[in-house]
């Protein structure tokens, strides 16, 4: 017989390293044609951070996204970054890029202010232009301003920026302190179907509601959530590296089971946006948190479906069937 159930799991997760300073930094230069190059040590291993950082730079500079070039992942060519870890790049390096871009923009605004006869604070940058706040028809092209700044005024529009969230170490006896700068939150609900004769679980659907402050790039945020869920499905149901007296018994994908396209449920992602005041344009992070609630939501859904509680991951069909039999015997 197949039985269905639903399970819920909530989580909170911090952005950035625990307690240790974990700065990110960036350089920005605006070329005299109005294009720009961003230099940062942050590395993209697939999560999409370089794209997000380019969007942040584009927004801050008011330059089109297509006109931003990213130089990343070269310790000789870029300023320091702690690394693509701890879900920190959007929040920390994003802030560093924003600050560096802001510094470069300040030079552009000052040069434009002189031409437009207003104070730099009365100017905005956007759409490749610098214009008077509230009077977008009075503008200068950034390319022109950049050329004047560099070749006319002798002030190349460059900037540098760094960011480090304010954290403290924990008291060794009480564990008290402020180890993180920002937190994200999430809830996932899983719906499963359990075959009571074989213990085989099919995850039918997962709803994932994640707060990330502000989704700089919603498609990439969804991608992180969907990918995290697949890792969570693996963690909950399939994956286990078996060690026997220190020897790995399954050092191949033959017996280390990852989810395939057929093992993944329908996923519905909901993004919650409540801007984080200390984040770049309100953004926080999403990388790690996405996988967190999946396994417990599935395990709780199994419990809801068939009344058995799996206390050791992964919840293999064999463990579920064994628990079912024990429950049956308990009832008899």
């Amino acid at each position: 017989m197949k039985k269905r159930g639903k399970g819920i799991a909530c989580m909170f997760y911090p952005i950035g390293f625990t307690s240790y300073p974990n700065p990110g930094s960036a350089f920005v230069k605006v070329n005299q044609d109005g294009t720009a190059v961003v230099f940062t040590g942050a590395t993209d291993m697939g999560q999409g951070s370089t794209t997000v950082l380019a969007q942040i730079a584009a927004e801050e500079l008011g330059i089109r996204y297509e006109h931003i070039t990213m130089v990343t992942g070269d310790t000789e060519k870029t300023p320091f970054d702690l690394g693509s870890v701890a879900s920190r790049v959007t929040y920390i390096v994003g802030n560093a890029v924003k600050r560096a871009a802001h510094e470069a923009k300040r030079i552009l605004l000052e040069v434009a202010a002189e031409k437009l006869g207003v104070s730099p604070d009365g100017l905005c940058a956007g759409d490749g232009r610098i214009y008077i706040k509230g009077l977008p028809e009075r503008f200068l092209e950034i390319s022109e301003v950049a050329r004047i700044a560099q070749m006319g005024k002798g002030r190349p529009p460059i900037g540098s920026g760094s960011f480090n969230p304010i954290t403290t170490f924990l008291d060794p006896e009480t564990g008290h302190g402020k180890p993180y700068g920002a937190y994200v939150f999430a809830t996932q609900i899983a719906e499963v179907e359990v075959d009571t004769e074989t213990g085989v679980v099919e995850v039918l659907r997962i709803a994932a509601a994640h707060d990330c402050g502000k989704a700089i790039n919603p498609m990439l945020v969804e991608g992180q959530v969907e990918g995290g869920i697949s890792m969570g499905v693996g963690y909950g149901l399939f994956e286990e590296m078996v060690l026997d007296n220190g020897v790995v018994k399954n050092p191949q994908f033959t017996d280390y089971i990852l989810p395939t396209s057929l093992d993944m449920p329908e996923i519905r992602v909901g993004i919650i946006e409540r801007p984080e005041p200390t984040g770049p344009f309100g953004a926080k992070g999403i990388g790690e948190p996405s996988l967190l609630p999946t396994a417990p939501a599935i395990i709780n859904a199994i419990y809801d479906a068939v009344g058995v509680r799996i206390r050791e991951l992964p919840a293999t069909p064999e463990k579920i069937l064994k628990a079912l039999r024990e429950t049956d015997q308990g009832k008899a």
Partner: protein
């Protein structure tokens, strides 16, 4: 504003290169005259190394160099504890420990040479169960105790918490060893340029950490170490620390030729870090109306043979072990324990998936005991704006309730929920 770059679903900046097969990953790089490196790993989970003889291997056609611990200027690394050798010297402490690395003119020659390296071991008693390892008479992996660290978090007074509870619920949960399984294996290529700079192409998440670790291991200035990250085929924490980079650098220096090393899938499983397996004990007290008033947690984390990221992982796990709930009385104890198992490292979630699984299943168990709907039970106890955590940190903005409502909106719940 029109044309804003924020909130826009831009495709990845390098997607065109990726989908056309033009993106270059670690193993896609090559340099003229490049050699290929393979590692010889331990045959025992715990043994003293008596002798390493590489002379026969060096005589093989195509073999250009073999390095052992003697070749490493500073043979220890680690983030919080400098306990891990680049190449095993006094002992091997798990099956993944590397004893020697060969550079040869082909993968085949390097692989064949491994069989010709003779290592004399004196097998030592080993320990694989972290609970056993905590006992005073257990075989010691390092020094005189296997307990590396004890993380404590105290908030309120749990004794008072138990007193005011109407129900106390206990659970023990275990999590398994998990591998990152980034589909791209570790790959690194090093070249020592004419001006004395090491250029290293390596698929790592933290190029600057690799550079600073290399600087210390090689005793070489950082301005002469350049780490470049090519396209990276996934990381998830598995490419977080130094692994094969010292080998290719040392071999490049020894042979004066570029050296490349790529791990096999088997080595990814046997010789790189994993997600720590945890044993987690929960004890929670609740009042009749479903408020959690006390929670005690004990975590035992199997660090494996070295600390690597074990202490910081456990710290993060402990900080979050009470879950996203407001609980006045909390006591958390985390223990990190050496064993002769694979090394626990950084992996997506960094300790929190383990406790997250445990606390969320524990929450359902409590709900069952007090006869409350699991969603309503959570909703009642969730952190809200300006809640404080067991660390004393106050969270100004908390969107947990919004996420619960959103999830229910997306797939519904078992019953109609009335939101407070």
């Amino acid at each position: 504003m029109n044309g804003s770059a924020i909130g826009v679903s831009r495709p990845r900046h390098d997607a065109v290169l990726q989908v056309t097969g033009r993106a270059l990953y670690g193993d896609d790089y090559e340099r003229p005259g490049m050699l290929y490196a393979k590692a010889l790993r331990s045959r025992h989970p715990h043994a003293r190394i008596l002798k390493v003889d590489t002379s026969r291997a060096l005589k093989l056609a195509g073999v250009k160099a073999v390095i052992t611990a003697e070749d490493v200027p500073k043979n220890r690394y680690g983030f919080t504890h400098l306990d891990q050798p680049v190449l095993a010297d006094d002992k091997v402490r798990y099956m993944g420990d590397v004893v020697a690395v060969v550079a040869a003119t082909s993968w085949d020659a390097a692989t064949e040479a491994l069989d010709q390296i003779e290592v004399d071991y004196l097998p030592l008693p080993a320990v694989f169960d972290p609970v056993e390892a905590m006992k005073p008479d257990a075989p010691k992996v390092h020094g005189d105790s296997n307990i590396v660290s004890h993380i404590k978090i105290r908030s309120g007074d749990v004794t008072e918490g138990w007193r005011i509870s109407s129900e106390i619920v206990e659970d023990v949960m275990r999590t398994q060893v998990v591998e990152h399984c980034h589909i791209e294996p570790h790959a690194a290529l090093a070249e020592l340029t004419d001006d004395g700079t090491y250029v290293i192409w390596s698929t790592v998440q933290r190029p600057f950490l690799i550079a600073s670790d290399l600087s210390r291991i090689l005793q070489y200035p950082m301005n002469k170490i350049r780490v470049i990250t090519p396209a990276i085929g996934g990381g998830f924490g598995g490419k977080n620390e130094i692994t094969i980079e010292p080998y290719v650098c040392l071999l490049a220096a020894k042979t004066k030729r570029p050296v490349k090393m790529v791990l096999s899938r088997e080595e990814e499983f046997c010789g790189t870090t994993v997600r720590h397996p945890y044993i987690v004990k929960y004890r929670s007290g609740v009042t009749k109306d479903g408020k959690i008033v006390a929670r005690q947690v004990e975590i035992i984390s199997d660090s494996g043979a070295y600390v690597s990221w074990g202490e910081s992982t456990l710290s993060k796990a402990s900080i979050h072990a009470a879950g996203p709930y407001f609980i006045p009385h909390v006591r958390i104890d985390g223990y990190l324990v050496y064993t002769n198992n694979s090394i626990g490292g950084a992996m997506r979630g960094f300790g929190v998936p383990q406790v997250g699984f445990a606390y969320e299943c524990h929450m359902d168990n409590i709900a069952a005991v007090i006869g409350m709907d699991p969603l309503e039970f959570r909703y009642k106890n969730l952190l809200t704006d300006n809640s404080s955590l067991p660390t004393g940190q106050v969270l100004e903005f908390v969107t947990l309730r919004e996420t619960v409502r959103k999830a229910v909106e997306l797939v519904g719940w078992k019953k109609e929920v009335e939101w407070e």
